[in-house]
Assembly symmetry: C2
Homo-oligomer: 170 residues x 2
DNA sequence: TAAGATTGAGCAATCAATCTTC
DNA sequence: GAAGATTGATTGCTCAATCTTA
């Protein structure tokens, strides 16, 4: 397949994203608007970080597991689910992928025969460092356009929304 | 299957979400923290709205299409992709689902034989109203914990991040 | 050549259910 | 009975590729 055609395909499949400030609907109240821009942010951010990590054969979900285990040592699947506030299924899936790539191991937990401890292999430890570097540079590239106070404002405001969502069962 | 067991399963599969203010890592810089809380917000918010819409047999992705067509009239698939800044595949998928449920129709575009116009059926129009009401009440329940200025701050700050992500190819 | 729509393959997330061990 | 892990089924999203028409 010629390279010129591949480039054409990439363009054809690109996400149409010329959106600059306010989306389609000027009549939307700020309730709808704030919801939209947050969703928009999440999807855009995910696309950028996934492409960055893909260049090292990694994905965001797997990188998160890898970096967390690298930082905190062997963990149970349920620990990861709690930390990420995700469903157990999601964590099992990520670990499956990492295990297939021989980046983590599942070892029996000597203290609880129901449980398994997730540990990094040597390759996994190396990959964790790569992922960590890529991730740190990503967040700096993105959030570097704000100053410390502005980042603090976001953290404070979004944390209030997160508390609210917990009240609502999320 | 007894109802008591179903309840037990629901609890077993619940997302572990006691997280209140700051997640696992106190050493994380505010760059990492702001990234984490935004991700956390998105996933929690999605869980809440999906559960709400599921009670009417709807999902967030399909509701967005329905509400947009209800508001703007018949649209092409590519228009929706641009508005939502999503890949074409994603939009086709949503329309497929809505078409199977007989909530939308794909009509040929008389002005361009490549294109199709997505229109609501009568059922679709009714469903759009239901979804709209549920969605509006959802965003008010969630974002109502902030005041107008705070919502404005979030919109302003996140829009700057979105512009940055567009620069980075997202 | 490019634009509009679709399809194929893969990942990440959910809910629901099951199996084993505490 | 409850907790830890896994599996099945489904959805939404991406990238890549293909087909038809402009």
């Amino acid at each position: 397949v010629p390279e010129s055609h591949k480039a054409a395909c990439r363009k054809a499949n690109a996400v149409a994203s010329p959106l600059i400030v306010v989306p389609q609907d000027e009549n939307a109240s700020d309730f709808e608007q704030v919801s939209e821009v947050l969703r928009d942010f999440y999807l855009r951010s995910l696309r950028v970080i996934e492409r960055t990590l893909a260049s090292s054969g990694m994905s965001a979900a797997r990188a998160r597991v890898l970096m967390t285990v690298a930082k905190l040592g062997p963990l149970r699947s349920t620990d990861l689910a709690t930390m990420f506030s995700q469903a157990p299924r999601t964590v099992t899936e990520a670990i499956d992928g990492l295990e297939r790539e021989k980046l983590v191991r599942r070892d029996p937990d000597p203290e609880d025969r129901r449980a398994k401890k997730i540990s990094l292999t040597d390759d996994g430890a190396k990959m964790a460092e790569v992922a960590d570097a890529l991730f740190r540079s990503h967040v700096r590239r993105v959030f570097g356009v704000l100053d410390d106070d502005e980042r603090g404002d976001i953290i404070r405001l979004i944390n209030r929304l997160n508390e609210r969502l917990v009240e609502l069962g999320g």
